[in-house]
C-alpha cells in the first residue's frame, strides 16, 4: 500500500454524515414503496370496498402483519449491510411474529365449523396471492438491492435474505390494499408463502450480486 495511494484517498475524502446509511436506506425503501404502490394501483387497483374494509380488524391485521415484518426486514438490512454485524435480532423477531400469526391462524381454523374452514384458508385467490406479492415486491427488491450493493455485507447470502424479507413483506403490505380476503389462515399461509419466496430470491441474488 503506497503512501501515494493513501495521499490520494485522503485528498478524495468528503465528509459523510454518521446517519447517511440510514438516510440512503430510507430513500431506497420509500422509492421502492412508491413504485410498488403505483404498480398495484394501475395494474390491480385498490379494493373497491376500501371504506368498509378499514372498519374490519382483518384489514388492519393484514396490513399490520406485513408492515411489521417489513420494518423488521429493513432493520435487518441496516444491520447486515455493515461489515461484521449480524441480523440475528431482527430476523428472530420476524420469525416470532410469523409464528404468532401462524398460531392465531391455527386456532381460528380449528375452532371454526368444518364447512367454514376451507374458505378461511383458501379464499378465492389463494393461487394468485403469492405471485402478486412477489410481483409487487420486485420494484422494492431493485431499489433495496441497489442500496445494498453500495454497502459492505460480510455475509452476502444473509444480506440478500434480509433484503428479501424487507421487500417481500412491504410488497405484501402494498398488496393488502388490493386483496379482499378475510381469513386469518389465508394471511398466515399465502401472504407468508409469497414473502418466503422473496426471501429465497433475495438470498440467491445476494449470493450473485452482493460481492465487493
Amino acid at each position: 500500500m503506497s503512501d501515494e495511494l493513501i495521499n490520494r484517498l485522503a485528498v478524495d475524502l468528503k465528509p459523510v454524515r454518521t446517519t447517511a446509511l440510514v438516510e440512503r436506506l430510507a430513500l431506497a425503501v420509500v422509492a421502492g414503496l412508491v413504485l410498488s404502490a403505483v404498480a398495484m394501483w394501475f395494474w390491480l387497483g385498490p379494493r373497491p370496498d376500501m371504506a368498509e374494509a378499514t372498519g374490519t380488524a382483518i384489514f388492519w391485521i393484514k396490513m399490520g402483519y406485513t408492515a411489521i415484518l417489513g420494518l423488521l426486514g429493513v432493520w435487518a438490512v441496516e444491520r447486515l449491510g455493515r461489515p461484521g454485524m449480524s441480523g440475528r435480532a431482527p430476523l428472530a423477531c420476524a420469525l416470532a411474529v410469523f409464528l404468532l400469526i401462524m398460531a392465531a391462524a391455527i386456532i381460528a381454523y380449528t375452532s371454526a365449523p368444518a364447512a367454514a374452514r376451507a374458505p378461511m384458508l383458501m379464499g378465492s385467490t389463494a393461487a394468485v396471492c403469492p405471485l402478486y406479492v412477489v410481483a409487487l415486491s420486485l420494484p422494492l427488491l431493485v431499489t433495496v438491492l441497489t442500496f445494498m450493493r453500495k454497502m459492505a455485507p460480510s455475509n452476502p447470502v444473509w444480506a440478500g435474505a434480509g433484503t428479501g424479507l424487507a421487500t417481500g413483506a412491504l410488497g405484501a403490505c402494498v398488496y393488502s390494499f388490493h386483496c379482499t380476503e378475510q381469513g386469518l389462515p389465508f394471511l398466515a399461509s399465502w401472504y407468508s408463502l409469497g414473502i418466503v419466496a422473496v426471501v429465497a430470491l433475495g438470498a440467491l441474488l445476494g449470493r450473485l450480486l452482493l460481492r465487493w
Binding site: A10, L21, W212
Partner: protein, 185 residues
C-alpha cells in the same frame, strides 16, 4: 502497539474525524492501520500467497474508503475494520483455492497480532482484563493456547482435559468475546 482499549479509542477518534472530513486524521488513520493489517494478513496467508498481503491491505483500505458510510459510530472501530479485512482475506482465499479455510480468530487476535516486538505490559493487562470476563478455566485455556502459543496437546495434558474439550472451550470463549466486541463469527 498500544494497549487494546487505548488503540480502539485512538482509531475510533481518527475515524470519526475522518467521517467529518478531516483529511489529516484520515491519512493518519490509514497509516496506523497499515502495520496491523500487514501482520494480520501475513500471519494468515500460506507461503505461496504471502506476497498478496500488500494487495489485501490496499483492497481493505480502498473498501474502507468507498464504504465508510457503513461504519456505525456506536460500534467498535476495530471490529468494523477487522470484518472488512476478514472479508477481503476470505475473498482472496476463495479465489485462489476454490475453498476458503479461515482459522477461528477474533478482534483481539487481530489487534495484538504482533507478539515479536511491540507487546507491552499494558497490552497484557488489558487482555487479562478482557479474559477475566470469561470463566477462569476458559480464560486460562485461551491464555495458554492463543497468547503463549502452547500446543493444544500440551494444554490438554496440563489441564487434564481431552484435546477436543480444550478446542471447544477455547472456541466458545472466543465466540463469547467476539459477541462482546461486536464481531461476527
Amino acid at each position: 502497539m498500544a494497549d487494546l482499549p487505548a488503540l480502539e479509542e485512538r482509531l475510533r477518534a481518527l475515524m470519526l474525524a475522518s467521517l467529518a472530513g478531516d483529511a489529516a486524521a484520515y491519512r493518519n488513520l490509514m497509516l496506523q492501520l497499515r502495520d496491523p493489517l500487514r501482520r494480520y494478513f501475513r500471519r494468515r496467508l500460506s507461503a505461496d500467497l504471502v506476497d498478496q498481503a500488500e494487495d489485501l491491505i490496499q483492497e481493505t483500505l480502498l473498501a474502507m474508503h468507498t464504504r465508510r458510510v457503513t461504519y456505525d459510530p456506536h460500534q467498535p472501530f476495530t471490529a468494523w475494520i477487522y470484518a472488512i479485512a476478514r472479508y477481503k482475506l476470505i475473498d482472496l482465499l476463495r479465489r485462489s483455492r476454490g475453498r476458503a479455510h479461515v482459522p477461528i480468530d477474533d478482534v483481539a487476535d487481530f489487534l495484538q497480532a504482533d507478539r515479536d516486538g511491540l507487546e507491552t505490559a499494558g497490552t497484557r493487562q488489558d487482555l487479562d482484563r478482557v479474559l477475566d470476563t470469561l470463566p477462569e478455566r476458559v480464560g486460562t485455556l485461551i491464555r495458554r493456547v492463543k497468547l503463549e502459543e502452547q500446543s493444544i496437546a500440551e494444554t490438554a495434558a496440563e489441564s487434564r482435559m481431552s484435546e477436543g474439550a480444550v478446542k471447544v472451550a477455547v472456541h466458545r470463549g472466543l465466540r463469547a468475546l467476539m459477541a462482546r466486541f461486536g464481531g461476527q463469527p
